[in-house]
């Protein structure tokens, strides 16, 4: 565990040692605001809740989270530090988990910095803060799931652009796997059970359920097990690359 902590600390500090963290946070906050107020017409809805705000999260994460995850492993490979990292006496699982948690904590910081909008709704009306808290938790979990997918893809290439593009596509499929675009493709030939299984992978469905104000155990389990699955895949990918 101390090994994972050492990797986490190094990685988390690295975000703030470069302009990456500041650029990301500024763009994240700016985009959140722009979407909520201009596209979501936050004020015109006239209701004291953050539904419009959270509604844009999956779509923003779709592009911003792969921007974080793309460098996670690809950068280490390109700069050669991968060789240093993997020859230190660290269990591979600790390295994978430490790096992942640092990236997740970083997106958590960006998400927390959206707090002015929470102050705004509380100033203007009387929102249900329980629902807002649940939505923040749901949003954080969903960001974690996107990150886990992106981290695994980043481990399989040393090209950050490829890591980004592939991550966006895979994340997109997970986001909308409940939509006809994806389901129609499978309906023609796959058994109903498989189609149902695919549709249940939809991030949108699970996230919407949480933003309605109910943290259902099934939604939690969904996101957490998806994260665990992709981290396990991440370990396997890094290990396979050792065999050249």
């Amino acid at each position: 565990m101390s090994a994972a902590a050492a990797v986490f600390k190094r990685e988390f500090a690295a975000y703030f040692a470069t302009p990456l963290a500041y650029v990301f946070i500024v763009i994240f906050l700016f985009a959140m605001g722009a979407f909520t107020f201009y596209i979501g017409h936050f004020f015109d809805t006239g209701s004291a809740d953050l539904q419009t705000f959270f509604g844009f999260h999956p779509w923003l994460y779709l592009f911003l989270v792969p921007a974080i995850s793309m460098r996670l492993w690809a950068e280490e490979r390109r700069s050669g530090t991968m060789e240093l990292l993997l020859t230190l006496p660290l269990p591979l699982t600790s390295t994978v988990v430490g790096k992942y948690l640092a990236a997740w904590a970083f997106t958590g910081v960006a998400l927390l910095l959206t707090f002015p909008i929470w102050i705004t709704v509380n100033y203007l009306g009387h929102p249900d803060n329980g629902v807002i808290l649940a939505s923040y938790i749901g949003s954080f979990l969903m960001a974690g799931a996107y990150l886990a997918i992106g981290a695994c893809i980043s481990a399989s290439t040393n090209n950050q652009v490829i890591a980004f593009v592939v991550s966006v596509v895979v994340c997109f499929l997970f986001t909308i796997s409940g939509a006809p675009l994806v389901l129609d493709f499978f309906r023609a030939w796959a058994p109903l059970a498989l189609v149902d299984a695919i549709s249940s992978f939809s991030f949108l469905t699970h996230f919407t359920a949480i933003t309605a104000g109910v943290i259902d155990l099934r939604d939690l389990v969904f996101f957490l097990s998806l994260i665990a699955l992709f981290l396990a895949a991440n370990v396997v990918v890094v290990d396979l690359k050792k065999s050249g």
């Binding site: 101390s2 090994a3 050492a6 990797v7 600390k9 190094r10 500090a13 690295a14 040692a17 470069t18 700069s79 050669g80 530090t81 060789e83 240093l84 993997l86 020859t87 230190l88 006496p89 660290l90 269990p91 050792k242 065999s243 050249g244």
Partner: protein, 321 residues
């Protein structure tokens, strides 16, 4: 300390390492030589557990690198090719990270860091981001990181590459000081480095060991071993060359013009490795040759190297065929 048995590594059809057996003991400094692409770095990557071998095994201080990876890695200090380090960190932060990973905390970590910083003379740049450092400092950060936990086994991929002569000297001094208590493998292209610090030289070519011995043994394979070279004025060269040829131990004499034009280098090669220097200098004195320089050659490592390894273009052609 390091036992390598039947080690191979293939990347697709290319056999980068084609069966290496080596044992390196405590107190040995093994110079790993070979042309680019001969398999030096690949072998080092397998010893340190970064790459998995296609077959064969590596044991470090008794720990199998593949099955007991972490225990083996604890015994090793490794400087990878190009001395990679996290550019956004300062040497102080970076060494702090390495110390933490190596299990040192608090005062112990501070002591370790202070000790390697002193050994590698990093103190003037401790708080500058590594990416802004000169090549020499960056390489020393890599060396510092490798020796931080005072490992019994050191694997260094070109530790003096890109260093100026002063820096090379200090890294070599450092390695020589540590040598008695460690098993060290150093890869290098610099043949003078082998003569300066290595107790043993191994030349690999096309993934195989093609020579293994002390630097002196390798030098003895050189055509120049025990040859004598004289520098004499050009106008007297022909006469001296003829006289040298009459000495009983001399097999042949070669003539090379010096760059200044007024002098000529004559090299007398011995028959069957005989010592020539006394006979030649006696003759030079008695004949009053006006010799400007006269020295016995120990042998030329680059000559041995060229004789037993292949050119990269030739290797590439063979792979394609």
């Amino acid at each position: 300390m390091i036992e390598i048995q039947g080690l191979t590594k293939s990347f697709g059809a290319l056999a980068a390492v084609a069966g290496i057996d080596l044992t390196v003991r405590q107190g040995e400094v093994l110079g790993f030589l070979g042309p680019n692409g001969a398999g030096k770095s690949t072998t080092m990557k397998m010893i340190t557990g970064f790459l998995a071998p296609s077959s064969g095994r590596v044991r470090v201080s008794g720990h199998d690198v593949e099955t007991d990876t972490l225990a083996a890695q604890r015994m090793i200090g490794y400087l990878p090719e190009g001395a990679p380090a996290y550019g956004d960190m300062t040497p102080r932060q970076f060494l702090g990270f390495i110390a933490e990973v190596r299990g040192f905390t608090g005062a112990a970590a501070k002591d370790r860091i202070a000790s390697v910083v002193a050994k590698t003379e990093l103190d003037p740049v401790l708080d500058q981001p590594i990416e802004t450092l000169s090549k020499g400092f960056r390489r020393r950060v890599g060396v510092a990181q490798a020796i931080l936990h005072d490992p019994p086994v050191l694997i260094m991929d070109e530790p003096t590459d890109g260093l100026d002569p002063n820096q090379k000297h200090s890294v070599r001094t450092l390695l020589r000081e540590m040598a008695p208590k460690k098993a060290i493998i150093v890869s290098t292209h610099l043949l003078e480095e082998v003569e300066a610090i290595c107790t043993r030289a191994v030349i690999i070519d096309r993934g195989r060991v093609v020579a293994d011995g002390t630097p002196a043994e390798l030098l003895a394979r050189s055509r120049h071993h025990n040859a004598v070279t004289l520098v004499v004025p050009t106008d007297r060269a022909a006469a001296i060359k003829a006289r040298l040829g009459t000495l009983p131990g001399v097999a042949m004499v070669e003539q090379t013009p010096r760059i200044n034009g007024s002098d000529v280098e004559l090299t007398a090669f011995p028959k069957g490795g005989a010592l020539l220097v006394e006979a030649v200098s006696a003759l030079a004195t008695s004949d009053n040759w006006n010799v400007k320089e006269l020295y016995a050659e120990a042998g030329r490592l680059d000559e041995v190297f060229r004789a037993i390894t292949t050119h990269d273009a030739q290797r590439a052609r063979e792979v394609r065929a």
